[in-house]
């Protein structure tokens, strides 16, 4: 399954975080440092398995832990319409 960013979101780069505003539903969000990094990795649609593998390597963390955290984040992002499965 590929994960795609919703491109109608308004974003603003903060020093180490990212602000996202969704004018369609009136909600706004802030991503922390790792969330921002993951968002940037979604600039082109990417399979979840690749995303998890890349993060496991780059953060030098246990794969199971990375997978659990990434799935939880993606779950929230889908729920709030920030990303879609494509």
């Amino acid at each position: 399954m590929l994960v795609c960013r919703r491109e109608t979101l308004l974003t603003a780069d903060l020093a180490d975080r990212m602000l996202m505003m969704d004018p369609d539903n009136g909600l706004y969000f802030e991503l922390d440092t790792i969330g921002t990094d993951i968002w940037r990795r979604l600039a082109t649609p990417v399979p979840v398995a690749h995303l998890v593998a890349d993060l496991t390597r780059d953060y030098d963390a246990p794969r199971a832990e990375v997978e659990r955290d990434v799935l939880a984040l993606l779950h929230d992002m889908v729920a709030y319409g920030l990303v879609t499965a494509c």
Binding site: L19, P23, E30
Partner: protein
């Protein structure tokens, strides 16, 4: 009806007015009502009916037409108070302009805004700036064209400052000959005359005013991210009405553009001498950044 608060048109002859204000009849019910409150009705086409008992009923349509049916003498200050306040605020939402509950002054050729709730000292601050020789763009509602090509612009509003009698006394301004904001109200309209900024200026900073009891707690703090968005949303004039009109997406788009401008929390101590200090500090801060 006379509108002495607005400066006379000095532009080209024969242009089409952008906003028409007329006396006339206002229907009791708007078509396809999407909101019905005690004062405000919103129609399916986004038109608004704003009825202030004992003062006037207003119909606001298409961001360019206001019909006034006074319940009292049409030239009473009360009618203009609501027309130039809430009613113009609703018109701004219809036009896609962002009205901020803020005063705004010109410093060094740029527009500097000071936002905050009623009673926080916006008008007093504006009056202090004007007394120091700075020009006024707005004393209570700062109207912003957030999507102007070169960056957010402030559209000058109304060349007067509304001040309570005790503030007039403290600033040593005589209330003689001043028109009250409403009949028998101890709040007066102080015209600023030649100190009114007639043209649009780039918005260069927005301050959120907050009063502290002790001068040592006075500070200037940048607001970013969620904090900036939340503070700006909270400062949108007639925000709830705007949201009921379905304008929240438009507000967020405008606020997103405003994030290119510094947003700062300005905590200042109560009292006129501290206010004077604030004026000096702000003038020094923004005059120093000239071309």
């Amino acid at each position: 009806m006379p509108l002495p608060e607005l400066p006379p048109w000095r532009g080209a002859e024969g242009g089409t007015p952008e906003i028409e204000v007329r006396l006339g009849n206002v229907p009791d019910q708007l078509p396809d009502i999407i909101h019905r409150g005690p004062i405000l009705q919103i129609g399916g086409d986004g038109s608004c009916r704003y009825n202030m008992a004992g003062v006037a009923c207003f119909l606001i349509e298409g961001g360019r037409r206001i019909t006034v049916r006074p319940h009292m003498a049409a030239d009473a200050p009360d009618v203009r108070l609501f027309l130039l306040g809430s009613v113009f605020g609703l018109l701004c939402h219809q036009r896609g302009w962002l009205p901020l509950h803020a005063c705004c002054v010109e410093i060094g050729g740029r527009a500097i805004a000071f936002a905050g709730p009623s009673g926080i000292g916006k008008s007093t601050l504006a009056a202090s700036f004007v007394r120091q020789g700075y020009r006024l763009l707005a004393d209570d509602v700062t109207v912003i064209d957030a999507h102007a090509p070169g960056g957010p612009l402030v559209i000058p509003a109304i060349g007067r400052i509304k001040l309570w009698r005790d503030t007039l006394d403290a600033l040593k301004i005589s209330a003689d000959g001043l028109e009250p904001c409403r009949n028998r109200m101890e709040k007066f309209q102080v015209p600023v005359g030649g100190r009114f900024q007639l043209t649009r200026l780039p918005l260069t900073a927005i301050h959120l005013l907050d009063r502290v009891s002790d001068e040592r707690q006075a500070e200037l703090l940048p607001l970013v991210g969620l904090q900036a968005v939340e503070t700006l949303l909270g400062a949108v004039y007639r925000r709830q009405a705007g949201e009921r009109m379905g304008k929240r997406p438009q507000m967020l788009r405008a606020i997103h553009r405003l994030l290119t401008v510094p947003i700062l929390a300005l905590r200042y101590a109560q009292g006129l001498s501290h206010l004077q200090q604030t004026v000096y500090r702000m003038a020094a801060r923004y005059e120093g950044r000239g071309e």
